[in-house]
């Protein structure tokens, strides 16, 4: 090996080692790198997570109930197609919050499997289009996005 090949070998082997280390670390950490649990993750978990958790999914259709009275309490269900989790929240919801919308809620998992949320974040998908296009798609019945918002 001449010097140039030695340098090339050094740089490629250090890259391979670093990539391997990163892959191992990220695989080991994958559950904590995930930003939220889905309702199915919670249902499948052998040991229920304790303390503050984050739960992500879609706000189930016709599940949002605003409580009567002075406190701005709202109940809704987060679902992921397979499982559903009941959520209660007191506070200001983000503008994008609506039924059918992706959300991430942070809060405490109660013994009955519901979540008392201290924060609700709206997730949005990677689709961007003008309102007229969205309306036209819905009219033609080829809408594939979230359910029509209110």
């Amino acid at each position: 090996m001449n010097k140039k090949q030695k340098r090339l070998a050094f740089i490629s082997s250090s890259l391979v080692v670093a990539a391997g280390a990163a892959a191992l670390a990220l695989t080991a950490l994958s559950s904590s790198v995930a930003y939220f649990y889905t309702p199915s993750d919670l249902a499948a978990a052998a040991e229920k997570p304790t303390g503050n958790i984050r739960l992500g999914g879609l706000v189930a259709a016709e599940s949002v109930r605003y409580a009567e009275g002075a406190d701005a309490r709202v109940d809704f269900v987060v679902e992921d197609g397979a499982h559903r989790t009941q959520v209660t929240f007191v506070g200001v919801l983000p503008d994008l919050f609506r039924e059918g919308q992706g959300v991430v809620v942070e809060g405490r998992l109660a013994a009955d499997g519901s979540v008392a949320a201290s924060e609700v974040l709206a997730k949005h998908d990677e689709t961007y289009m003008p309102r007229e296009v969205a309306d036209a798609l819905k009219k033609q019945g080829v809408w594939q996005g979230e359910k029509p918002g209110s």
């Binding site: 250090s14 709206a122 003008p130």
Partner: protein, 257 residues
């Protein structure tokens, strides 16, 4: 690698004078074109494009944010390629190119982080979350800073170039992590809209300003890169003259003619 014609492109601009001539021609052209494309992109993005069906006018932050995030990754990738060229083949301009890219990439990363926070607040309901995408981009920003710190901490350019190149390449692992973070893990950040398997999931009227801005940012990078590289070469020449030393192998040689 251009091993087939080693005497042409690959070595011609190793000569600082030839490079300077090239730089003087390209920099103003790229700069003018960058301003034109960014102005056009901002016009289409902020005025002559529709509001989003969900986000309304807030979506316009995308036209500044997304190309900045692309450039943050593209600059780091360029830096890594230049680092390999410098480390393995000792091309005298490669180290200069890598060093000169770092502050530009750091600026694009900072722009992406700041506009991302401004976009996150109205849409998600938060300025910042520690999800995989946001965290890995913050790590990228610190890598740029660390890379620049390495260069300024080591006085001798050849030694600094060697150490910085290894650091840059090890840090390059982060770039695919950023790109695929939204696919590998649950994250608050949405997945890619443009570079994805089934074609862009973004309407043509909104893709146009996005691509105009991306092109404008790229030209701005080319412009600033040439300006930075010229400055770096001038600084090295000045340091050499001050030290009273004859030109060394660091910059190959004086003009041949």
């Amino acid at each position: 690698m251009m091993t087939s014609k080693p005497a042409s492109f690959w070595t011609r601009y190793a000569n600082p004078t030839a490079f300077q001539r090239l730089s003087n021609q390209i920099a103003p052209l790229a700069g003018g074109a960058a301003i034109a494309f960014i102005a056009l992109g901002l016009w289409f993005g902020l005025v002559a494009s529709p509001a989003d069906y969900q986000q309304g006018d807030t979506v316009r932050i995308m036209y500044v944010h997304v190309p900045a995030a692309w450039m943050a990754m593209a600059c780091y990738t360029s830096m890594a390629i230049a680092s390999v060229a410098g480390f393995v083949w000792k091309h005298p301009l490669a180290d200069v190119a890598a060093k000169s890219t770092a502050p530009i990439g750091a600026t694009f990363t900072a722009l992406a982080l700041v506009t991302g926070a401004l976009w996150g607040q109205p849409t998600w309901g938060t300025w910042w979350v520690w999800d995989a995408r946001l965290t890995s981009v913050l790590v990228l920003f610190f890598m740029y800073l660390g890379y620049m710190a390495l260069w300024s901490a080591i006085d001798e350019p050849t030694r600094a170039a060697r150490i910085a190149a290894v650091a840059c390449l090890v840090g390059f692992i982060n770039v695919p992590i950023i790109k695929f973070s939204v696919d590998w893990w649950n994250s608050l950040h949405q997945p890619a809209s443009v570079i994805r398997a089934n074609g862009p999931s973004i309407d043509g009227s909104m893709l146009r300003p996005l691509l105009l801005m991306a092109f404008g940012y790229t030209l701005a990078y080319v412009w600033l890169l040439f300006v930075n590289m010229s400055a770096e070469l001038a600084e090295r020449r000045a340091a050499r003259l001050l030290a009273g030393a004859r030109p060394t192998a660091t910059l190959v040689a004086e003009p041949a003619e």
